[in-house]
Amino acid sequence: MWLERWSGYQAISLFYLLSVVLLALFVDRGPILFGTVLTAMGWSYLFAPPRWSFEISGFYDREMVAMYFFVALIVSQLTAALRAARTKERERQEAVMRARLLNESERLGRTLLNSVSHEMRTPLTTISAAPETLRSSGPLTSIQQEVASEIQFAAARLNRLVESLLSAARIESGLLRPKLDWCDLADVVKVSLRNRAEILKGHKLENRLSAATPLVWADYVLLEQAIGNLLLNAATHTPRGSKVIVDARVSDGAVTVEIFDNGPGIGAEDVDRIFDMFYRSASARPGGTGLGLHIVRGFVEAQGGTVFAENVPKGGARFSIVLPIREGAPALEEQAA
């Protein structure tokens, strides 16, 4: 054959080997093996004596075929390893970039949240302080007193609204960082009740927590706000003069704080969605944000707890905050240090 003028039949096998090596750059080991067998058969049939048969007569030729397979195997193994390393490196770089993006967006989110809250709170501070400054500046006419009071109430309400929005934003952006420590639950409830005394004025309050309530592992600030939002919810959805009861009990490795009311209860269509963001039931009084209960859930879950809402058989609703008991809570009677 004309090819034999350029090289001997043995050297031709190297051309085949070259093709297998080049193939190895692109395909995986299975196809390589197949290609190797194919090319070996081709060489054996077309070039190795006896020609036009698959038999290989020369001992050295058979040695060569064995070596051929060896080399093809090693090369395909090498390229496979190279490919794997390249893929891993690419994945690693993608992961690094993803982490960097996440960090960056978290940082931006936090910066935005901080600057927005700063911007909103500054004029609010001025507005909140205005009535007091007015009152202390001298005697006011009755109209001026009324206006001062209105400014005070509206500013307080706006402040609560801003705080709600910021809390919800913090929950949604995952930037909430609870500070968990031992908390005196009875104290948390008392502070919560006191902070909302104005809103709860029209209702009959009953605090059933005794001093024997165990210490809970929680974030004081978040827990106090969660309880406060439940109290606010009870006050706004129940008729004036009705009862709102706060209780706590220990069972099954958890401490449960419960808020009962004697109102109309939760509508069947609302029960599953009542803790959703911006959800407001059809029967709700106008003027709320729909964020209160969502914040309760966000704050409680951030502390490892759960919230429930259900209707009580004899009328009214019960909202529960369940916090797991943590090992090491000293009984209040215990002598410490």
Binding site: E132, L166, D184, D219, V221, A329
Partner: protein, 235 residues
């Protein structure tokens, strides 16, 4: 309480918001204080070094320096009371400020009445000499530090040694907030500065013995996430 004589108490307020500066100037001058303001930490520190001030109000959100740095710089050469302005949910900030040398904090938006009360408490502590006021009184509570006697509504109250130490710490800092860690360090020692459960238990006990009237005002105010404050009622 204002100092005697012709000198009015001088207050330096450092806040980058002009509205807050105006508000503070108005509210404080109405009460008889002399007020100077600064808009940046650099200006504030310069003003602090130039004139003597009796009290500082420092906003923690200053653009050119962290609150901690401003406090540490001030504390390098003045022991005058410092009250910081913080935001809601900035508990970490508050504790850091108190640990860096602030005497108290107030949260924006604040009631000027509350600010004035905390200023008075801070100034009272600064002006106190050991011989002053051996007997502390606030509402129903009376504590005779010299005789180690505690009275609730006139009746003697028995306290354990630890309970008394805890109460005495509050009395010595009456009206001012004390962080959990500070209280634990002072009463139980540095080794226990993270054993919050001790503090919770003992505060519960003190309250049981001294805040007997549930409808009455609280004697010990919980500062959520930060610490406690013994109320100094001026009645």
């Amino acid at each position: 309480m204002r100092s005697e004589g012709q000198n009015r108490i001088s207050v330096l307020a450092i806040d980058d918001e002009v509205q807050i500066q105006r508000l503070l100037t108005l509210a404080l001058e109405t009460e008889g204080y002399r007020v100077a303001t600064a808009g940046t930490a650099a200006d504030g520190l310069a003003a602090a070094a130039l004139h003597r001030h009796d009290l500082f109000i420092v906003d923690l959100g200053l653009p050119d320096m962290t609150g901690e740095t401003v406090l540490r710089r001030l504390r390098e050469w003045t022991q005058a009371p410092i009250i910081v302005l913080t935001v809601h949910s900035g508990e970490e900030q508050k504790i850091e400020a108190l640990d860096s040398g602030a005497d108290d904090y107030i949260t924006k938006p604040f009631s000027t009445g509350e600010l004035l009360a905390r200023m008075r408490a801070a100034l009272r502590r600064a002006n106190k000499t050991p011989s002053d006021e051996p007997v502390f009184r606030s509402g129903t509570l009376e504590v005779d530090l010299a005789a180690r006697q505690v009275r609730y509504k006139g009746e003697l109250v028995k306290l354990t040694a630890t309970e008394y130490d805890l109460l005495r710490l509050f009395v010595q800092h009456a009206g001012k907030v004390l962080t959990h860690r500070h209280i634990l360090r002072e009463v139980w020692g540095v080794a226990h500065e993270n054993n919050t459960q001790y503090l919770r238990v003992y505060m519960q006990r003190l309250r049981e013995k001294l805040e007997v009237d549930p409808t009455g005002d609280s004697l010990f105010l919980t500062e959520p996430g930060v610490g406690y404050r013994l109320v100094q009622s001026d009645k």
